[in-house]
């Protein structure tokens, strides 16, 4: 693996976690029940912690690059930071990159929707993350392996929590079943992207698909839901081509750091 690949891949993992953390945080104060409000915001914080670890790793990688390597990844480096004349830090990568520089999966940037939407999205994403981190623990990069080892405990709980809620909604009342069926029809086309490898991917994502599908089928069987047969999948997030929702998300998330450059608490 080249250092450019490693840098891009770390950014991709970090963006996934950060963007989904941002979406889940929108539930603060709006959860259906107090305990579930706390549960989903806890998940958001867990993801934010993972994002921080990845961004710190990416920033320290960049700061140790030589000129040639820095040129190779220049398209991901925020323009604003270059005016600050200091070392690259995690916050610069998180809050100053433009939409085409972000490498997150499309499924993470979709709006929070209703409870069924967030649950189903979390289920799809967490099951993917779980198998991904299992593989990532064997990475040749020690730091990535360490982050994966720490994070997989959190993701284990996210997966458990979201799969139980999928069962509760799917096998619940008429209304909940209808709602989650609607969300399934909308969300399924975003799940294929996880298994289409990007040039910088350091884990063989195609091999994760069988485990992932098996998990989905097991939980869906209990939730009386059917795995859709649709085969056309949305794509583009890993190259920086995002949905219409990404612009608004970044505008809200990055507003402070862009309006007050180099601001500190």
């Amino acid at each position: 693996m080249s250092t450019t690949q490693l840098f891009s891949y770390t950014l991709h993992l970090a963006d996934n976690a950060l963007i989904l953390a941002q979406r889940n945080a929108e539930w603060t104060g709006h959860g259906p029940v107090l305990e579930q409000d706390i549960a989903i915001t806890n998940i958001s914080l867990d993801l934010l912690g993972q994002a921080r670890n990845f961004y710190q790793h990416a920033a320290s990688l960049y700061n140790n690059f030589n000129e040639e390597e820095k040129d190779a990844v220049d398209k991901f480096i925020p323009r604003l930071w270059k005016e600050y004349n200091r070392e690259l830090q995690e916050d610069d990568l998180a809050f100053l990159r433009d939409e085409h520089q972000c490498l997150n999966l499309l499924i993470t940037e979709l709006p929070k929707g209703d409870w069924a939407h967030s649950i189903l999205r979390q289920f799809f994403f967490s099951s993917f993350q779980f198998y991904l981190y299992q593989q990532l623990q064997n990475s040749t990069d020690a730091q990535l392996a360490a982050i994966a080892e720490k994070s997989i405990k959190e993701v284990n709980y996210h997966l458990r929590w979201s799969s139980e809620w999928v069962v509760r909604l799917g096998d619940g009342t008429e209304e909940s079943n209808q709602r989650i069926k609607n969300e399934l029809a909308d969300l399924w086309m975003f799940t294929g992207e996880m298994f289409i490898p990007a040039p910088y991917e350091l884990v063989d994502v195609v091999s994760l698909k069988t485990d992932w599908i098996k998990k989905i089928e097991t939980v869906f069987a209990e939730a009386t839901l059917e795995v859709p047969k649709q085969s056309w999948m949305q794509n583009g997030g890993k190259e920086g081509k995002h949905t219409e929702h990404m612009g608004y998300l970044l505008a809200e998330m990055q507003y402070l750091q862009r309006t007050y450059p180099n601001v500190t608490w």
């Binding site: 029940v33 706390i38 139980e164």
Partner: protein
């Protein structure tokens, strides 16, 4: 003298009867509400706007659970609070989310609130005060002869 008795609210499902009596001359309104008798410790959900009695609970409310957590250094599970959940497994997970955020615990017990019975504070006088002046109940009250070495 009250001339008319108006039945204001009558719920057939709960035993709450509120009677408003209007006295013709002095316009005095007497409100008498009859409650079902509860023993102390029958926990109701006091945060609910209906007032907290078991009969007034909204129909869709999940049952209330009391949470006990044992910390790493502890031997006993301590009561930390309560929460709502649909069943026991969900209660354990909610307790994990709500009460172990700051690393307080290694073990969680959940008990549905309706299974917890408590003593009545009105009985506190007769329950606990007689024990205060019975010093002979403490082992230190007794002088042991020196020959006893293994007490």
């Amino acid at each position: 003298m009250c001339h008319s008795l108006v039945l204001q609210h009558f719920y057939s499902t709960i035993k709450d009867i509120s009677i408003s009596a209007k006295c013709g001359s002095s316009q005095k309104k007497i409100n008498m509400t009859f409650f079902k008798k509860y023993l102390y410790g029958d926990y109701g959900d006091k945060e609910v706007p209906t007032g907290g009695s078991l009969q007034n609970k909204p129909v869709n409310e999940w049952p209330l659970w009391e949470i006990f957590i044992r910390s790493k250094q502890g031997l006993d599970h301590k009561h930390v609070g309560s929460l709502h959940a649909a069943d026991a497994q969900m209660a354990v997970e909610n307790a994990r989310d709500v009460y172990t955020r700051r690393q307080e615990g290694v073990s969680i017990w959940v008990v549905e609130s309706k299974y917890i019975h408590a003593s009545n504070p009105d009985d506190a006088e007769s329950f606990y005060e007689p024990a205060n002046d019975k010093v002979y109940r403490h082992p230190t009250f007794y002088d042991l002869p020196d020959e006893l070495t293994h007490m």
